[in-house]
C-alpha cells in the first residue's frame, strides 16, 4: 500500500512543482508592493566587498594615494542615506583614485584626454533619484555587473560565474536551466542546497543548460546591499572566491568567503558577519577550516600537526600569510564591520634583480616625449621594490543612524490685542466671501484667506520656534537705536567742533592756557 501512495505523491508533486516554483514569481511581478513606511530616523549606510583585493605600496610612484596602486576583482558597492542611494559594480576596479579620477590621471600622464573622457569604462552605476535605477552589463557569458538603486534599497553585484548567479544566497539556477533544482525543491531539499527561491537572475546566455546540474562554480562574486525592511536598515556585503557547487548545490565548496553585516532599527546598531576559508557544505551542514581550526557541526578544534615552520619558510621568500581578525566596532550609533579572509603580504625585494634585468630603459625610449611622466615611471621601474598586499575575501559595511529631531516645545507668546484685530478678517473670511478675493489695497490682506478651508489655520500649525524666531525684530526698537546713535554722534561732532573753534580762537583746550585737561603720567613726561 505504501508504494502506490508514494508513487501517487511523487506524480502529484512532479505535476505541481512547476506551478509551485513559478507562482510566487508571477505574483511578485503583478502585485504592487505596498508603500514602505518611512523610517523614524536618519541613516547613512555604505557597504563594499571584493573577493580579491591587491594593494601595491610604492612611495616612489607619483600617485597621490595610499596605497599607490590597487585593484579589485569583482568590486561592488552600495550606499544609501535615506534620500539618495547608489549602487556600483565592476568586475575589475582600479581603486577609487584611478576609478573616479581616470581622466585626471590620463591628463597628468600626458595621455590623450579624449580616450578617457567617459571615465573608467568597466563599471555600472545606478543612482536614485537622479539617475538610472538599474544598470546591467554582461560583457561576456558569466561575467556580470549589476547595480540597482531605489528609495529603500541599493545594491551592487558582480563577479564571474558560469551561470551568471552572483546574488546573495545564490539565486536561481532553476531559471538558468538546472533541472535538479526543481526536483530538489519538490523534495524539500532546496534550502539545504542554498535556498534558491527568488527567480530573479536571468540565465547566462551561451551557458549549456545541463552543465550547471553537475558542476557549478562561482569564480568570484561580490555583492553589497543596503535595504530598508520592516522599519530597519540592513547593510550587507559579501565576497566569495572559488565557490564550487556539485549536484545542484548539495555539495558546496567555498574557497574564501567574507561577510560583513550591520543593521539598526534606530537604536544601537547590531553587527554580524564572519570570514571563512576552506568551507565545505554538505546538505546544508557546514564544515569550515578557519582561523580557529576545523569547525564541524558547531564544534571547533585545532589543526593537528600544523606548526609555524611553513610560515617561517614563506617569510624567507618575503611572503607573509595572516588571517586578519574580524573588526566589529560599535560607537554610539555607528557600527563598522570589516571582514577579511586571508591576507598575503609579499615583499618584492627579492624581485629586484629580475626587474633590473628588464630592458625598461629601452621601453621608456619608445614612449613619446609628450607622455613624459609615463616615460619616467617606466624608466624607474627597475629600482622599485613595492610591497604587495593581497587580500582574499574582503567585505566591509558601515551604518550610522541619527535620531529624529524633536520639535522644540516653546510656548507661543500671547498675541497682543492689536494682532487679534488684524487676524479678525481671517477668521471671518468665509462670511465675507462677497468681497472681491483679490485687491490691490493693503488693507484687504485678509481677503485671500477665504481660500483657506475652514478649520485649517496656517499660523497655529507653524512650529513654535518658527513662529517666534522668524522675521525681523520688532520695529519699535529700531527707531530707538537710531535716535540714541544720532544723539551720540551729535555729541561727538559737537565736541570736536567746539575744540576746533577754540583752537581757532587761540584757546584750544579746556584750559585757558590751551593745554589739555587730564592727569598725565609724570614718569613718562
Amino acid at each position: 500500500m505504501r508504494t502506490p501512495r508514494a508513487l501517487a505523491a511523487a506524480v502529484l508533486v512532479g505535476a505541481l512543482l512547476p506551478w509551485g516554483v513559478g507562482g510566487p514569481a508571477l505574483a511578485d511581478d503583478d502585485t504592487e508592493q505596498p508603500a514602505a513606511e518611512p523610517l523614524g530616523f536618519g541613516y547613512s549606510a555604505t557597504a563594499w566587498s571584493t573577493p580579491v583585493h591587491v594593494e601595491i605600496y610604492e612611495p616612489s610612484l607619483p600617485i597621490p594615494a595610499t596605497p599607490q596602486l590597487e585593484f579589485m576583482m569583482a568590486y561592488s558597492k552600495a550606499s544609501s542615506d535615506g534620500g539618495t542611494s547608489a549602487g556600483r559594480a565592476s568586475w575589475f576596479w582600479p581603486g577609487d583614485p584611478v576609478g573616479e579620477g581616470l581622466k585626471t590621471f590620463a591628463e597628468q600622464l600626458g595621455l590623450p584626454a579624449q580616450l578617457f573622457a567617459g571615465g573608467y569604462p568597466v563599471q555600472v552605476n545606478a543612482t536614485h533619484p537622479s539617475g538610472e535605477e538599474t544598470a546591467v552589463d554582461e560583457p561576456f557569458p558569466g561575467m556580470v555587473m549589476r547595480a540597482s538603486a531605489s528609495q529603500d534599497e541599493a545594491s551592487g553585484s558582480t563577479g564571474f560565474t558560469p551561470d551568471g548567479d552572483v546574488e546573495e544566497g545564490g539565486t536561481t539556477t532553476a531559471p538558468a536551466g538546472n533541472p535538479l533544482t526543481s526536483l530538489l525543491g519538490g523534495l524539500g531539499l532546496d534550502k539545504l542546497a542554498g535556498g534558491k527561491a527568488a527567480p530573479t537572475a536571468p540565465a547566462v546566455p551561451g551557458m549549456p543548460a545541463g552543465l550547471g546540474a553537475l558542476v557549478d562554480f562561482d569564480g568570484y562574486v561580490s555583492t553589497s546591499s543596503s535595504k530598508v525592511v520592516d522599519g530597519a536598515v540592513r547593510v550587507t556585503s559579501r565576497s566569495a572566491l572559488g565557490e564550487v557547487r556539485l549536484l545542484g548545490g548539495l555539495v558546496r565548496l567555498a574557497g574564501v568567503k567574507a561577510v560583513a553585516t550591520t543593521s539598526s532599527d534606530g537604536g544601537k546598531p547590531a553587527t554580524g558577519g564572519r570570514s571563512t576559508w576552506g568551507e565545505l557544505t554538505v546538505l546544508g551542514q557546514e564544515f569550515a577550516i578557519g582561523p580557529e581550526g576545523i569547525e564541524a557541526v558547531g564544534r571547533k578544534q585545532g589543526i593537528p600537526g600544523l606548526s609555524n615552520d611553513p610560515g617561517r619558510a614563506l617569510e624567507q621568500l618575503g611572503i607573509t600569510v595572516t588571517v586578519p581578525e574580524q573588526v566589529r566596532t560599535v560607537e554610539g550609533r555607528k557600527a563598522v564591520v570589516e571582514s577579511r579572509g586571508l591576507q598575503i603580504e609579499v615583499k618584492t625585494d627579492l624581485l629586484k634583480p629580475v626587474l633590473s634585468a628588464l630592458p625598461l630603459g629601452r621601453l621608456a625610449e619608445l614612449v613619446p616625449d609628450q607622455a613624459g611622466p609615463l616615460k619616467s615611471v617606466l624608466a624607474g621601474l627597475g629600482s622599485l621594490a613595492p610591497r604587495v598586499v593581497l587580500t582574499l575575501g574582503e567585505a566591509r559595511s558601515t551604518l550610522e543612524t541619527v535620531p529624529p529631531i524633536d520639535p522644540i516645545d516653546q510656548p507661543v507668546p500671547e498675541t497682543p490685542a492689536d494682532d487679534e484685530e488684524t487676524q479678525a478678517p481671517t477668521d471671518t473670511a468665509p462670511a465675507a466671501s462677497d468681497t472681491p478675493t483679490t485687491s490691490d489695497a493693503p488693507g484687504d490682506l485678509g481677503a485671500p484667506s477665504s481660500d483657506v478651508p475652514p478649520g485649517t489655520e496656517a499660523a497655529p500649525e507653524l512650529p513654535p520656534a518658527q513662529a517666534v524666531g522668524a522675521g525681523l525684530p520688532k520695529l519699535f526698537s529700531i527707531p530707538g537705536m537710531v535716535t540714541l546713535g544720532a544723539v551720540a554722534l551729535a555729541v561727538g561732532v559737537g565736541s570736536w567742533f567746539r575744540r576746533a573753534g577754540l583752537l581757532a580762537l587761540g584757546a584750544g583746550g579746556s584750559c585757558a592756557h590751551g593745554l589739555d585737561t587730564g592727569l598725565p603720567d609724570l614718569r613718562k613726561v
Binding site: 592756557h513 589739555d516 585737561t517 592727569l519 614718569r523 613726561v525
Partner: protein, 234 residues
C-alpha cells in the same frame, strides 16, 4: 618743547574767608631742584597742599607735565608720580622701620625693592630696621619718611619743611641725600624756612611771602638780593 614739570599760574587758595594764596606763579623745570623759601605763614605749606591735591585752589591753573590738572585727588596724583613728604614726617610710630617700609609695597612696588632703595639712600635705617619708628630720632624718622616717598618711584617730589626740628648736621646729611635723589632725574620742590642749606643743593629758588612769589632766580642771586626777606637764614 620742554614742558616744565610743575607750573602754577595765579593760584589762589583760602581757608574759609582767609585767603592764603593770592596769586602764586611758579615754574619748576623738569629734573631741577627748586627751593621755595619764605617766612612762617607765607603760604608755602598751603601751596604744597594745593599741588598735591589735598586742598582745592579757589582759582588759577596748575599744570603738571604740560597738562592742566583740576580736581585730581591725592591718591590719583601719587599714582602718576607726584609724592609728598609732609611736614612732621607722619611715620607710623608703633610699627618698626621695616613694617613702615613694607606698607609701601601695597602701592605695587615689591617689598624687597622698597627695602633696597631705602637702605641704599639711608644705611642708618638698615641698622634700625627692627626698631619702632616712634622711638627713633627726628632725623631718622625723616629719613624713613623720605624712604617711603622714594619707594613709589616719584617723578615730582614735594618736601615740606624737611629740616624742621632737626639738628644742623642731620639737615646737612638729609640734603646731601636730596641731591643724590635729584641726580636720578627726580624733580624736587623743597619747602624750607631755613634757606642756606636748601640753597646749597638747589638749582633754582623762589621766595614766597604774603601768599605770593616775590622773587625767583639762581640760589646765589636769591641769597644776595633777598637776605633781608629770608628770616632766620641757617
Amino acid at each position: 618743547m620742554n614742558m616744565p614739570m610743575l607750573e602754577a599760574i595765579d593760584v589762589h587758595a583760602a581757608y574759609g574767608r582767609i585767603e592764603v594764596l593770592r596769586g602764586v606763579d611758579l615754574t619748576v623745570p623738569r629734573g631741577a631742584v627748586l627751593a621755595l623759601l619764605g617766612p612762617n605763614g607765607a603760604g608755602k605749606s598751603t601751596f604744597v597742599k594745593v599741588v598735591s591735591g589735598q586742598m582745592a585752589a579757589t582759582s588759577g591753573d596748575l599744570h603738571l607735565g604740560g597738562v592742566h590738572v583740576a580736581g585730581a585727588t591725592p591718591d590719583a596724583l601719587a599714582r602718576v608720580g607726584l609724592c609728598t613728604v609732609p611736614e612732621g614726617r607722619s611715620v607710623f610710630p608703633n610699627l618698626t622701620v621695616e613694617e613702615n617700609l613694607r606698607l609701601m609695597s601695597y602701592a605695587g612696588v615689591p617689598a624687597d625693592a622698597v627695602m633696597e632703595t631705602a637702605f641704599r639712600y639711608f644705611p642708618r635705617l638698615l641698622e634700625r630696621r627692627r626698631q619702632l619708628a616712634g622711638t627713633m630720632s627726628g632725623g631718622e624718622q625723616q629719613m624713613l619718611a623720605m624712604s617711603r616717598a622714594l619707594a613709589s618711584d616719584p617723578a615730582l617730589l614735594l618736601l615740606d619743611e624737611l629740616s624742621m626740628g632737626l639738628a644742623p648736621l642731620i639737615v646737612e646729611e638729609l640734603y646731601d641725600t636730596v641731591r643724590q635723589i635729584a641726580e636720578t632725574g627726580v624733580t624736587i620742590l623743597c619747602i624750607e624756612q631755613f634757606a642756606r642749606t636748601a640753597l646749597r643743593v638747589s638749582d633754582y629758588a623762589a621766595v614766597m611771602t604774603g601768599g605770593r612769589i616775590v622773587a625767583t632766580g639762581e640760589p646765589e642771586e636769591i641769597m644776595e638780593t633777598m637776605a633781608d626777606v629770608i628770616l632766620g637764614a641757617a
